[in-house]
Amino acid sequence: MTTAVADIGLHPFQLIRKRRFWASVSMAALVAMLGLVMAVCSSCQSVPDDVVENRTPDSDDERQQFARIVKEADELYAAQPRNEKRVRLSVQKYAEAVRISSVDHDMLWKGARANCWLAQYLPDKAERAVFAKTGISYSQTLLKLKSDSTEGLFYLAVLSGLLADADRSYGLSAVNLMDESLRKIIDSGKDFEHGGAHRVLGTLLSDPELPGPPTSIGSLRNGKKELEAAVEKAPDWPENHLYLAKAEFLWAAERNKPAIAQQARDRLNKYLLGSEAKAPAGYEFEFGQWQKKAREFLNANP
């Protein structure tokens, strides 16, 4: 999952038709576009903690039916190019599956992922919020089964952010939940999505619109540290360098440190724009978007 969705300037479904888009949706970029930037919330709501109804298959027939439906859902989701129609069908299949069994770890996180896709790319905010809530309920169910599930924590964080994007009244709660969930992944030492937890958290914390403590958790220093950790986890992943460079530009401007700005420029040139920079396998389109963003950063910081 990697790509700067916000930077593209096309409707997501146009992108989907062009490339295998979802396979490389960037969580860091996602957070950057969420607008989780709330000093004080006007009508604060908590991210829901609902779980899906507890169901287990009663017979071999039901177990087989469950396996068949999940397989169909997985295939629909995986089919390329991914599109709204198929992902909607995939989400429906996961919903059918959950009515037979709600205790399957993989089905739950994949269901959360499919809902996450719709929560991110549908044009209608209200509909996005509905899918975000469904995905959150899958993640919460997963976390009831396995409280340290990396996938559960990751999707709970990302879906909370998407819910806040669709309905800003969830902003404060989402920021707290994202912070908590992503830190749990980080503390576990597990890696997911090329330093994804560090990258998402780092992008969130370094967002200049996010207030610092005690109002919220914004901290350019902490965000930069997390992005440095993402680079350490996955040093060849260009997106980690892209967002670290962004934080470095902010750092350089805030503290009047031109050498740090030069470091950011060198980083962008080396990992994204120079002759040696190349797209990770299967991420050519996304790499192009990162390059576009990198150029924007350079233009803004000549």
Binding site: V40, C41, S42, S43, G212, P213, S219, R221, N222, R255
Partner: protein, 284 residues
């Protein structure tokens, strides 16, 4: 018959118009202006919705009163302009104490309540640094999000007679200022001035909680609810009662939560007097 009908309509219209006029007469407007020093997000854009919840709560509690928001500012001069605007008069203000002491005479401000941010009674600042500030840190660089040097030098950390004043460095993010010290950055300040609510957050932070706390300010007033030029009239007591009872029902609790002030109380007169005396010494 036709004439009678017309007359009836005219009479009905008159009666109706009169009734509406009477209802409008009963509702009084009390404009509200907010000034919060050092709070980057104290703007209409960021905090307007939250304050509107408080104002809606007041309207519900106080019959015949409307509380239009005149503005929320983190800039004292702008807040003063709002309060001086005779076309859109302000009757009620929620202001930081430096603003009250500086403008109380010019704007005819009277304190009617004091905020308890996060439920804390009074504000107290502490200096945190790499080493413990045992005494007034003469000439040292101290980071703060407060932007009123008079308030800082006279009330918060009064400059001792003959001492070289602290060099105040304005920083929006107090945590990052503390981290600069911890990371031993070249341009880090020597100390950071930390308020009580931020201190609670510092104490929960793995890295920052070990930093030594040094010199503390006196216990100071928090944000003050003020009446402007006696404009609250016969609603003053009802407003005071509603504010002090903010945590008494769900709606009030939600309104308090949104602005991070779960309750208001009577202003602590002794604290107010002490701070006022310090501030007025050589006041500009």
């Amino acid at each position: 018959m036709k004439t009678f009908s017309r007359l009836a309509i005219v009479l009905a219209a008159l009666v109706l118009g009169f009734s509406i006029g009477k209802a409008e007469d009963k509702i009084k407007e009390f404009g509200v202006t907010v000034y919060k020093m050092g709070e980057e997000r104290a703007t209409d854009k960021d905090a307007g919705g939250s304050f509107d919840k408080l104002l809606a709560y007041l309207e519900k509690k106080i019959e015949g009163a409307k509380f239009p928001r005149r503005g929320i500012r983190n800039n004292a001069d702008e807040a003063k302009k709002l309060m001086e605007d005779s076309k859109k008069p302000t009757a009620l203000g929620i202001v930081s104490p430096n603003f009250y002491f500086r403008h109380k005479d010019a704007l005819k401000l009277t304190v009617i309540a004091e905020a308890q941010r996060k439920g804390l009674n009074g504000e107290q600042y502490v200096l945190i640094g790499a080493s413990k500030a045992e005494k007034y840190p003469e000439g040292k660089k101290v980071a703060t999000n407060l932007d009123d040097a008079d308030w800082l030098n006279k009330v918060v950390m009064p400059t001792p007679e003959g001492a070289k004043p602290i060099q105040w460095v304005n920083k929006a993010n107090i945590f990052d200022a503390l981290f600069s010290i911890l990371d031993e950055e070249d341009d880090a300040c020597d100390f950071v001035l930390v308020d009580r609510v931020t201190l609670e957050a510092v104490e929960k932070d793995r890295a920052l909680k070990a930093m030594p706390r040094g010199l503390k300010s006196d216990m100071l007033p928090q944000d003050l609810v003020v009446e402007v030029d006696g404009r609250l009239g016969d609603k003053r007591e009802a407003i005071q009662k509603a504010l002090k009872g903010l945590d008494g029902d769900d709606e009030g609790k939600k309104a308090g939560e949104a602005i991070q002030v779960p309750k208001f109380m009577d202003a602590d007169e002794a604290r107010l007097k002490a701070a006022g005396e310090k501030f007025s010494k050589g006041a500009k």
